[in-house]
């Protein structure tokens, strides 16, 4: 078993984990950054722009990713699973299982030749399943580490990649590897997942091709968009009439989660503005229950959207039906302004799905979870980075829904708290 030691282990390589690692590393602490996926970057690197300034998300995330990769005080481990976290007096013992990539990380140069020749195509989870990827693949263009991996489940072992690899990096005999890390403190930055809307039968239960989740639409709007343009999946038509349904799974005691997911209003307004930048004559309607523009510059962003022609209609969409011929969609709602039931047609419907915590195993992380499954903060108003366990800190959306500026603030706070904790222990 491999053994490593450091000052702080950061679990989760999204923007929160990266920020916390960088802050600690710049204070001269040794950090090991863990990510369960094949690349760091988390959710933010896959976003198109940030609200309310419409800054490019990857322009903010990529330099931080690169900096953390090259920082002498940071070691990044990806594609792994956490087995256990144990606390002994003043230190933590974290046992991880590194999953085999079947590609030698030290040899691979990320040229992508292997993906070109691979004959297997499977839905690309990083593109919301809208376009395919290969069975041997680099997750996304700015992945770090920029190393390919083989998806064993779909690989047909044809050997095409082995033949073209210029550095002979493919290693089918790779085994999973246990690593034991000893650290003085732990930061949890495991982030969020999106609610699976297939449970909502009234919205088609994931069966309507032209009903997209907000993540899929985010990808369509992205500069590296999967279709190269804003198109709808069923027939490649440019959608001239887009409906946007807010609070899908959020604030819903019936099938989703109770809480407000905090970012959906804003990212929906962002999507609407961005979509209008691409499709000047499109009609975009946002169906909402409340527009929650709570942050700095948010209300102005909303006003801007209204001014640019985005229609806001108050009324929760109860049902979506698909025209089996044209694959157009009909949304059912009660328009709050008129009190009338309306059935409106759209080329494309986007569901602003709510967010849920990634963690579901509280026993593993030891730290107490709140009723919603997020890590419980010790004292939410005066000590938001500490958890129920001394020495374990929480950063970003692992503690609850928040936007990117709040996530980064929270990550820096966790880094500072971890540093203080280590200093105090001596």
């Amino acid at each position: 078993m491999n053994k490593l030691a450091c000052d702080v282990v950061v679990i989760g390589g999204g923007i929160a984990g990266i920020q916390a690692s960088l802050d600690l590393a710049n204070m001269n602490y040794k950090v090991i950054l863990l990510d369960s996926g094949p690349s760091i970057g988390g959710k933010m690197i896959l976003l198109s722009k940030t609200f309310p300034t419409l800054d490019c998300a990857s322009c903010i995330a990529t330099p931080r990713m690169a900096e953390s990769t090259h920082h002498p005080n940071i070691k990044i481990l990806t594609y792994l699973q956490i087995v256990s976290i144990d606390k002994h007096d003043s230190s933590f013992e974290i046992k991880i299982l590194k999953k085999p990539r079947y590609v030698d990380e030290s040899k691979c140069i990320g040229c992508g030749r292997c993906s070109e020749v691979c004959p297997v195509e499977v839905p690309n989870e990083y593109e919301g399943g809208l376009v395919p990827r290969k069975a041997i693949y680099i997750p996304f263009p700015n992945s770090l580490p920029n190393v390919a991996l083989i998806d064993k489940e779909n690989c047909i072992k044809c050997g095409a990649c082995e033949r073209v690899c210029p550095v002979k990096a493919i290693d089918r005999n790779q085994k999973q590897e246990e690593v034991l890390i000893e650290a003085k403190a732990v930061i949890i930055a495991t982030g969020i997942d999106l609610i699976d809307y297939s449970k909502k039968i009234e919205y088609g239960g994931g069966k309507y091709v032209n009903v997209l989740s907000s993540y899929q639409f985010e990808r369509i709007l992205n500069a590296t968009h999967p279709y190269g343009h804003i198109l709808r999946p069923s027939d490649g038509k440019i959608p001239r009439n887009i409906g946007y349904v807010l609070c899908v799974g959020s604030r819903d005691l019936n099938w989703g989660v109770k809480y407000c997911s905090a970012v959906c209003c804003m990212y929906s307004i962002k999507h609407a503005i961005m979509a209008l930048h691409h499709l000047h004559d499109a009609e975009i309607t946002i169906y909402y229950m409340d527009i929650r523009t709570y942050g700095k510059g948010f209300e102005e962003f909303y006003n801007r959207a209204v001014k640019e022609g985005v229609k806001f209609v108050r009324g929760k969409v109860a049902k979506i039906e698909e025209d089996p011929e044209t694959k157009d969609l009909f949304v059912y709602l009660e328009n709050f302004d008129t009190g009338k039931v309306e059935i409106r047609r759209h080329d494309l419907v986007v569901l602003a799905v709510g967010i849920v915590p990634t963690i579901n195993d509280s026993a593993l992380f030891k730290a107490k979870l709140n009723v919603y499954g997020f890590i419980e903060r010790k004292l939410i108003d005066v000590d938001p980075a500490s958890t129920s366990i001394d020495g374990i800190f929480v950063a970003g959306t692992a503690a609850g829904p928040m936007d990117i500026p709040d996530t980064i603030t929270s990550a820096s706070a966790a880094a500072m708290k971890a540093a203080l904790y280590i200093e105090r222990k001596g």
Binding site: E202, L253, A318
Partner: protein
């Protein structure tokens, strides 16, 4: 001027809409409702009226009676506010408010309704005791318990009583709901034509076939509800036929040759057959709903108000005792048959006397509301 009743929501909540104040008015219930239509939206508007205390507005809404509580709204409500229960509770509230002098309040209180039913049963029992004839124990002859004239007169009195109260309460309801008439004026001739046309729509589609109910998802419930209704109708027909037989066709048989030609016994046989069919489907319907309300596996049956039980159980007992009379006759237990006959009369008396003030009244109010609604639809269809 709008008058508000600040206690409205509290009173309605007591009648079964326990969670309704959680509503944040998103309108999902209205948009999902299979019966919601433009100009007749439900249930969110009713929720707003209730919460804001707009009692007159609420009572003027025929929409309350256009709802059959399929429960789709309650199932999809993001706040678990149970809009369907609000509609049900508001209907209970309207039955109280539409009743003469608010007397129906008695039957919407658990203790009061039981006490009044006991009192009514005692009155009926005393009546039977005081007017009873000498029992013929060698065979079953209903008129040896109570004379034919007595039953006849009592039946007539009850029929007049029901008719008068139904008319007065119907007018009271109409005075409320006429305020939700849609804008627009039609010539008098068209008005009459529409009135008649909508009446027949109501009679055939709604009263006899409950077509709107069939739009709700759960077909088994629709069938059971229709079964109770048709059970009643068939039993009513059977009773009428039996009455015609015993009265020698209203006593006219002696005077007219053409009536003499009819074999009077055929009325008895028909009454028997129709009565048994009506009784069977009525028992099926009432057992279905009693069972559903006991196992509480559906949105609408989760909560049962005392008035629901009184109504269902009385219907069930009336039909059951009717059957038992027959069973005891065929097994030659005549004394028991007479006892069942007395019980049957008592329960029927309870059911009929309380009908205008209990859940029974929903039948009348619903027909008026649907008639009003169909008429309004014809009005704007031009």
């Amino acid at each position: 001027m709008v008058r508000t009743n600040p206690n409205l929501i509290r009173e309605i909540k007591k009648l079964g809409a326990f969670d309704i104040t959680a509503c944040y008015s998103c309108g999902e219930c209205t948009a999902i409702c299979p019966l919601s239509e433009n100009n007749f939206e439900l249930p969110r508007m009713m929720i707003r009226y209730s919460i804001l205390g707009l009692e007159d507005k609420l009572l003027s809404s025929p929409q309350l009676w256009l709802c059959y509580y399929c429960g789709e709204c309650s199932e999809s409500c993001p706040r678990d506010a149970d809009p369907g229960a609000l509609m049900m509770a508001a209907r209970r509230y309207s039955i109280i408010k539409y009743s003469l002098g608010g007397i129906a309040r008695i039957f919407y209180s658990k203790i009061m309704s039981i006490v009044s039913l006991i009192v009514l049963s005692i009155i009926a029992g005393l009546g039977i005791y005081l007017f009873k004839e000498s029992l013929d124990l060698t065979r079953f002859d209903p008129f040896s318990l109570l004379s034919y004239e007595f039953i006849h007169t009592a039946g007539l009195v009850l029929a007049v009583y029901i008719a008068v109260i139904a008319l007065l309460q119907g007018i009271k309801m109409y005075n409320y709901i006429k305020h939700s008439a849609l804008e627009g004026n039609l010539p008098a001739g068209t008005k009459v034509k529409n009135l008649i046309k909508s009446f027949f729509i109501v009679l055939f589609r709604e009263a006899l076939a409950e077509q709107r109910y069939s739009k709700c998802e759960r077909q088994s419930r629709y069938v059971a509800h229709l079964a109770i209704f048709w059970g009643f109708i068939l039993l009513f027909i059977a009773t009428t036929l039996d009455y015609l037989k015993n009265s020698n066709i209203l006593g006219l048989r002696e005077s007219y040759e053409i009536l003499k030609a009819i074999d009077i016994e055929i009325f008895g046989v028909l009454a028997r057959i129709i009565g048994i069919i009506g009784g069977l489907i009525g028992v099926y319907g009432s057992i279905y709903f009693i069972y559903k309300r006991l196992i509480k596996d559906d949105v609408y049956s989760e909560y049962s108000h005392a008035s629901d039980w009184v109504f269902l159980v009385l219907i069930f007992l009336v039909i059951l005792t009717g059957f038992l009379i027959d069973i005891f006759i065929y097994t030659n237990m005549f004394l028991l048959a007479y006892a069942m006959f007395a019980a049957h009369l008592i329960f029927a008396f309870d059911l009929i006397v309380t009908a205008p003030f209990t859940k029974f009244a929903h039948f009348g109010y619903r027909l008026i509301a649907v008639w009003f609604y169909e008429y309004q639809k014809l009005k704007i269809s031009k």
